[in-house]
């Protein structure tokens, strides 16, 4: 048994030999994009207004605009592929997408699997959407109560272990929010930015975001891990730096009706050009 398992382990080591940074840059994915004249970017389809489908079924949103900007800068055609929280990293690893911009929190264990170039383009914390009728006041109110969540969100585990909530995780936002409406859970735990947008949409009149946001975490887009320190990663760092510097992200935030965040204002100031344009 032990021999078999160490055999499996050895196999694993062989497969995961793509050591980042140290390996020579082959720029495989980068070159492949130019060969086929197209960049394939994974985006969300159920995360309004970052990535969602409009009434005609087209993918639109803040991150789709960012993806379009990437394609325009590369001078390539853009192909969007909808991804989910629970499969986005796998899609990138398998080469189904060249990169993704999909509302992903930048976490240490995720950096071991995909290449997350800095600086982060956004940030959000964890909060819950709960019915006003319940009048929740603290995270402790969730203890031993059914709380709807989404498969793939990193804070499910935190809320479960820290506050003892019973997470019922659905595969999509739509199912989870429907379950909340159907009163199958007392709250929907998710990114505060997304909940804020839902509340602002006017479709959630009887609900509120009553708790103090926790675990504020920057969002990272991702390129293949092997190319993080190569052209692709460096290029995306540059894109993100400029999005912050020239205020693109703040404009997009306004365009998509997202509540202005202090994070973007601060980053915009931090990266400001030291020679002021007249």
């Amino acid at each position: 048994m032990k021999r078999l398992l160490s055999g499996i382990a050895a196999l694993g080591v062989a497969f995961s030999s793509a050591a980042p940074a140290l390996a020579e840059c082959t720029n495989d994915v980068w070159n492949k994009m130019f060969e086929r004249g197209k960049v394939v970017i994974g985006v969300k389809a159920d995360y309004k207004p970052w990535g969602f489908r409009d009434t005609d079924g087209n993918l639109v949103g803040m991150e789709i605009d960012m993806a379009q900007d990437v394609a325009d800068t590369l001078g390539l055609e853009l192909e969007l592929v909808p991804v989910q929280s629970s499969n986005r990293m796998q899609f990138l690893e398998q080469g189904k997408v060249d990169m993704f911009i999909a509302t992903m929190s930048d976490r240490p264990d995720r950096r071991e699997i995909v290449g997350i170039p800095l600086p982060p383009y956004y940030t959000s914390g964890t909060n819950v959407m709960a019915p006003k009728a319940l009048g929740l006041t603290s995270w402790e109110d969730l203890r031993d109560k059914p709380v709807c969540g989404k498969q793939g969100a990193f804070y499910n585990k935190i809320v479960e272990e820290r506050y003892g909530a019973q997470i019922i995780a659905f595969t999509g936002n739509a199912e989870a929010k429907q379950a909340l409406r159907d009163r199958k859970c007392i709250a929907w735990v998710y990114d505060d930015s997304s909940i804020g947008s839902d509340l602002a949409s006017g479709e959630w009149e009887e609900f509120e975001m009553p708790l103090a946001s926790e675990d504020d975490n920057p969002w990272g887009l991702a390129v293949p891990l092997a190319e993080k320190e190569c052209i692709f990663g460096q290029f995306m760092s540059g894109m993100q730096y400029n999005w912050h510097r020239d205020g693109t992200l703040i404009e997009l935030e306004a365009k998509w009706g997202i509540k202005p965040t202090a994070f973007l204002a601060k980053e915009n100031e931090r990266y400001a050009d030291w020679i002021k344009e007249e």
Binding site: G12, S16, S86, F170, E175, Q178, R183, C185
Partner: protein, 248 residues
Amino acid sequence: MEDFFRELAEEAPRWNFIWMYEERQQDKILSGIWMTIKLSVACVVLSVIIGIVGAWLQGARSRIVRAIVQGYIQFFRNTPPFVQLLFFYFALGQFTPVVTGDDGWTQYPIITNVGWAIISLSFFAGAFNVEIFRAGIEAVPNSTQEAAESLGFTRLQTYKEVVLPLAFRVSLPALNNNLVNLVKTTTQALALAVPELLYQSVTIWNDYPSAQYPTMLLVWVVYILLVGILVLGMHRWERGMRIPGYGT
């Protein structure tokens, strides 16, 4: 043993067999396997009952009863099980009685997500089972049924004592196939957040990306074993029920 896997996780960062050394994750896997077994057993038993009853009703004298069975088969056989699960849980689930919790807001439906998964998957597989049993029944020679009738058997008795035992033997290979499919289809209960093996596994590899390969491997092995046991049992049954000279 635990230390071995701890070391392995450090040496090979993609091969973190976390559920071999961390109790919380281990509990998730074990409860997931147990839920999958419960779902499978409940669905297999119910769907076979539905198949037997349905096939009997298909031969009913009343045209209305036959039409209802036919409608049921068409409805459940022609729509994807995934859609049925969502429809049952979210649409029909709203019309079932609920118990309101202490907080005055939460409603605990009498039929839980697990209940709906069992109902929906059983009806799905049951629709196929009806057709499988029908094929078996049609393979029983008319003369045999007439012989039973002439001996004074009622319709139910003929079905129970003569037709079904023979038809069952003919149906078994096809039934076997369908039940194997049913066990695998239980993974789709994930859509209703039923905490079966796949749900728990997806949760684990989302929480610990390093545990992805080992957990996928585990899911694979568990299903091979579960389906293997089912197939083995069915084959034994098939052999045990063999009548020399009848059928295959």
